[in-house]
Amino acid sequence: MNLKDIVHNLGLSVRAGESALTNEVRGGYAGDLLSDVLAHGRPGDLWVTLQTHPNTVAVASMNALAGIILVNGREPEAETLQKARAENVVLLVSTLPTFELVGRLYGLGLSGMRT
């Protein structure tokens, strides 16, 4: 599954990284403590979070995550957006709360486990 399908299926808004939407998504991770995501986010994971701080972009880059989805209609901070665009990190926005969004991603076939 690639990001474009997910954006289309869940009605997400794209804030940055348009050209990387063809990237393959291999799984998902949800978390708001960046230290935890650094420790557990795997390459190809789509990351669901409420954090809008610029450090999120660095975490996504460092762990080669597929992209970031901000929940509850939260918008990235100006510097976050600028960094995401500069580094071509996919930054998406959903109006859904975390529980609902993760449930729908799971319904589309994404898993938090890797076999």
Partner: protein, 236 residues
């Protein structure tokens, strides 16, 4: 002069602190523990600072006015200030950005006291909550008002800059970081490191402290030591 400073103490205004942490009791214990300087840093409020400063007048111990601000990322940042006006201003900014009312049963009582340890009133604000201010906005606000910005307990698993945001953002401009354990923290080497008790109970006061080489027991001198200016520095 060499000064022992514990730069992160709560009082009974913080809902999670013991009631026995009255401003005069905190000052008294600080002196008994051989501290020369303490900083009062309650959660999102500085309303017990004045009482602590008054209680310290004949105590042979200096009190620095401070506040522990919770950013919207739930990072705790200490602001230490040279004068009361700056402290009032930072408190106004924090209150403008802090929503909710305290539930004493869930979070604890928030006592504002005078220098004799008598209850003046309760704070009704949700002091345990997070402000709507970003980490950068908090550091900038502290600096705009001439204060020192120190990231609190960076090596703890919650409410720390490292737990919440993974690493110290480049260009943040902190004056220092506070650590809890003896291990060197995962922060840039040029950042000053201080040890403080983060005491919520009387017996915790002074259990960790920092030795400074400074000329006077003031926030300005501490700031110079953090930046190693004109011979001022941290000894250990």
């Amino acid at each position: 002069m060499e000064l022992r400073a514990d730069l992160h103490l709560h009082t009974c205004l913080s809902p999670c602190a013991d009631r026995e942490m009255s401003p005069p009791a905190v000052v008294r214990r600080g002196r008994e523990k051989g501290l020369h300087v303490i900083a009062i840093c309650d959660h999102n409020s500085a309303e017990n600072v004045e009482a602590a400063i008054r209680a310290s007048e004949d105590a042979g111990l200096a009190v620095i006015g401070g506040i522990e601000i919770t950013t919207r990322e739930e990072v705790h940042v200490l602001g230490l200030f040279k004068d009361d006006r700056a402290l009032q201003s930072v408190q106004e900014v924090v209150y403008e950005n802090l929503r909710g009312e305290n539930d004493p049963e869930a979070f604890g009582e928030q006592w504002v006291m005078n220098e004799r340890g008598e209850v003046v009133r309760h704070s009704a604000r949700l002091l345990i909550g997070a402000t709507g201010l970003s980490l950068e906005e908090v550091v900038q606000t502290i600096h705009r008002l001439g204060g020192l910005a120190i990231a609190a307990h960076v090596d703890r698993p919650r409410f720390s800059l490292i737990s919440q945001l993974g690493f110290v953002p480049a260009g943040l401009g902190l004056d220092g970081v506070e650590v809890y354990s003896d291990k060197p923290p995962a922060v840039p080497e040029d950042l000053a490191v201080v040890r403080s008790s983060d005491a919520h109970r009387l017996e915790e006061i002074g259990c960790r402290y920092t030795r400074f080489l400074v000329e006077r027991p003031t926030a300005s001198e501490i700031g110079m030591a953090l930046r190693r200016i004109e011979g001022r520095r941290i000894l250990s």
